[in-house]
């Protein structure tokens, strides 16, 4: 997994609430057996018309946001299907941070496994960043994971919280399977005791 420490980039506003993972990456693109190459189909049905041409007023099609690395989104981003293709598509497009008032549980976890930082903020902070993002390519936002602070284009700062373990893994690009395997003795011991107590499992 690619490390995430600090990033300065353009933030794109997506104020719509309840953006689900079917919107982020529609099902016809789930037929891949790879993790890569999904960026071109990110938000496919919102981004392209029936002929496959770009819909010009969709935010990521606007010249200012074509290289956005941060999304500022409405409530409950990433709800619905568990498909990890959603963060894969975001990452492949170049998005490394998503900011919202709330995220669906599975999507939130999936982001951390792929070097994407999802940040939960109170409504007023999201509103402020949504306004900032609306200012286009000049509105560069800086996200500093180490210090847990976002700096807006006007120099204002917003602090955010993040789970300590998830932060550690992101900062260091750690593969958590490797970390868990270091606990294989504990897993083996648990298994032995557990299967003796519940032999039918």
């Amino acid at each position: 997994m690619e490390k995430f420490a600090k990033l300065s980039g353009v933030a794109a506003p997506m104020p719509l609430i309840n953006i689900d993972t079917d919107m982020i990456i529609p099902k016809l693109f789930l037929k891949t057996i790879k993790r890569s190459g999904l960026g071109k189909n990110l938000f496919d049905e919102m981004r392209y018309d029936d002929n496959g041409d770009e819909i010009s007023d969709f935010v990521l099609n606007k010249p200012a946001y074509r290289n956005a690395q941060i999304l500022v989104a409405g409530d409950n981003f990433g709800c619905g299907s568990s498909r990890e293709h959603a963060p894969w598509a975001l990452l492949d497009f170049g998005i490394r941070v998503v900011i919202s008032t709330s995220f669906a549980d599975i999507f939130f976890n999936n982001c951390f496994k792929n070097g994407i930082l999802p940040i939960v903020l109170p409504q007023e902070d999201v509103d402020k960043l949504m306004d900032d993002a609306g200012r286009g390519a000049n509105a560069v936002v800086t996200v500093d994971l180490e210090n847990q602070v976002i700096t807006g284009p006007d120099g204002g700062t917003i602090e955010f919280t993040v789970d300590a373990f998830k932060k550690h893994c992101l900062l260091n690009g750690l593969d958590d399977i490797g970390l868990t395997m270091q606990k294989s003795d504990a897993i083996d011991a648990f298994e032995e005791e557990y299967s003796a107590a519940t032999p039918w499992v």
Binding site: P15, L16, I17, N18, D20, D22, M23, P26, K27, L28, L30, K31, T32, I33, K34, R35, E45, D50, G74, D75, N76, C79, G80, S81, S82, R83, E84, P87, S102, F103, A104, D105, I106, N109, N110, K113, N114, D163, A164, F165, D176, I177, T180, M181, K183, S184, A186, I187, F190, E191, Y194, T198, P199, W200, V201
Partner: protein, 467 residues
């Protein structure tokens, strides 16, 4: 004496391998269900790292999302990408030695129907799958939830999952359900009240007389859509109904093991005075047959209602409703029963079980579906299909004009040939009415099997109680 625990607390504690100071925990996983869409990258990861599947005997693979449901499917899958994905599952299941129900096995079906049917899902277990509707298995009093592909790989490699504990939420449905009102109406009504983010951060325990009165099929329908309310999982304490369902299934415990298991399972309930962080109580008599009008599962109303207006809402929902009405081609204020449909889809992990097909047959018996309506019934598994044929349910459906399909996810998510065309409107027994869910530009109204059957007869959304 230890502090009173919820059912979720008990299952959590019984599976805790280790816990760090910050609450990050390693949870042991009893059953790992695998399908073809969210697993290929996980198996590839294992191969690349030279890792094995830690517990192949606890891992069950079934193809369901991509499989065609037409009778000719064994002649081959036309779509190349689908075929590659199905072939990858076949190879991975065989190479890694996990339990496997291939497309030509009568036991194949939607993974969340196959697991319980085969007795893989048992009370008190932890069950995961790379699929959000894993919540279904909570009906057995097991902690069951969807995971992403990285987590699928983690479970394959270690049989554990890194988790932080959720909060406890209780949803109580008191009293008895009125006639014509079903498990689907309960679960949709709950989501209508909590919203799609109301359960975020929680595990929901459903309880109350109306829940106790449900069959296992009905309980699975209720828990299935816990995810649509944002909850990590939904569960129901096991009771005689549960034990009766489980007993005798191929992978259920037998003989002395059964007695031992029963001793354990009878401890699986929330203690009196156990703490819930959030409680929602609904009177069953206040629940009516429910339908969705918008593009979020929280857009729920009783069938007697009218399409709402954006002005009825506040905050970000105003724009979301404007967008939804435009997408759905609906006018604020129109009666829900005036919404004309083109298609009816009966099936999915929400409502593809035998009881659901019987409910449809009860409504359409001796009648014909409205001319011009395309209606299909997709049984949740090959065994559900066989049972419906044996009971005569299938013939009733065929005589009424339904297409009688083979098992799979079908039009619930349209990754296979079963899709809506742009602008087509569907009465569906599935779980998601998102934009494009059943096909680009397709319009979905969620409802119970009985309500979908009623719509099939009249050609518009219909209160099944009026038939």
């Amino acid at each position: 004496m230890s502090a009173p625990k919820t059912l979720y607390d008990k299952i959590w504690d019984a599976h805790l391998v280790s816990e760090d100071e910050d609450g990050t925990s390693l949870l042991y996983i009893d059953r790992h269900l695998v399908h073809e869409v969210t697993s290929p990258q996980a198996f590839e990861g294992l191969r690349n790292a030279g890792r094995k599947v830690h517990a192949p005997d606890k891992t069950i693979a079934v193809p369901d999302h991509n499989v065609p449901t037409t009778l000719d499917r064994l002649e081959g899958v036309e779509n190349e990408e689908s075929r590659i994905q199905l072939e990858a599952l076949d190879k991975n299941a065989k190479d890694f030695g996990v339990h496997y129900y291939p497309v030509d096995d009568v036991r194949q079906g939607v993974v969340h129907i196959v697991g319980p049917e085969q007795g893989w899902t048992l009370p008190g277990m932890t069950v995961v799958c790379g699929d959000s509707h894993t919540a279904t298995h909570g009906a057995f009093g097991s902690l069951a939830h969807g995971i992403g592909t990285s987590e699928v790989e983690h479970v394959l490699a270690t049989q554990t999952l890194i988790q932080t504990k959720s909060k406890n939420m209780k949803v109580e449905i008191t009293g008895k359900l009125p006639a014509g009102v079903t498990a689907k109406d309960i679960t949709m009504t709950v989501i209508g009240k909590t919203g799609t983010a109301g359960g975020t951060g929680y595990v929901i325990e459903y309880c109350g007389e109306a829940i106790r009165d449900l069959s296992m099929e009905g309980r699975m329908t209720v828990c299935n859509m816990a995810i649509e309310g944002g909850a990590r999982a939904g569960l129901i304490a096991p009771d005689e109904t549960t034990f009766e369902y489980v007993k005798g299934r191929p992978h259920a415990p037998k003989g002395g093991q059964w007695e031992l298991a029963m001793e354990n399972w009878k401890t699986l309930f929330s203690d009196e005075d156990a703490h819930f962080d959030k409680v929602l109580t609904i009177r069953a008599e206040d629940i009516a047959p429910a339908v969705t009008w918008g593009t979020s599962p929280e857009d729920v109303l009783p069938i007697t209602g009218n399409v709402p207006s954006p002005e009825d809402f506040t905050g970000g929902k105003v724009d979301a409703v404007k967008r939804a009405l435009e997408y759905m081609g609906l006018t604020a204020g129109m009666k829900l029963t005036d919404i004309q449909i083109d298609t009816v889809f009966i099936g999915s992990c929400t409502n593809g079980r035998i009881e659901d097909l019987r409910a449809v047959a009860d409504v359409v018996k001796g009648k014909k579906i409205k001319e011009g309506i395309r209606a299909m019934v997709v049984p949740g598994s090959g065994l559900v299909r066989a049972q419906a044929e044996e009971e005569g349910v299938a013939q009733i459906l065929i005589d009424a004009g339904f297409e009688w399909r083979l098992a799979g996810c079908s039009m619930c998510l349209a990754m296979n040939p079963d899709q809506l065309q742009p602008g087509e409107r569907c009465a569906a027994t599935s779980n998601r009415n998102f934009e494009g869910r059943q096909g680009r530009g397709g319009r979905t109204h969620l409802m119970s099997p009985a309500m979908a059957a009623a719509a099939a007869l009249t050609g518009h959304l219909t209160d099944v109680r009026d038939l």
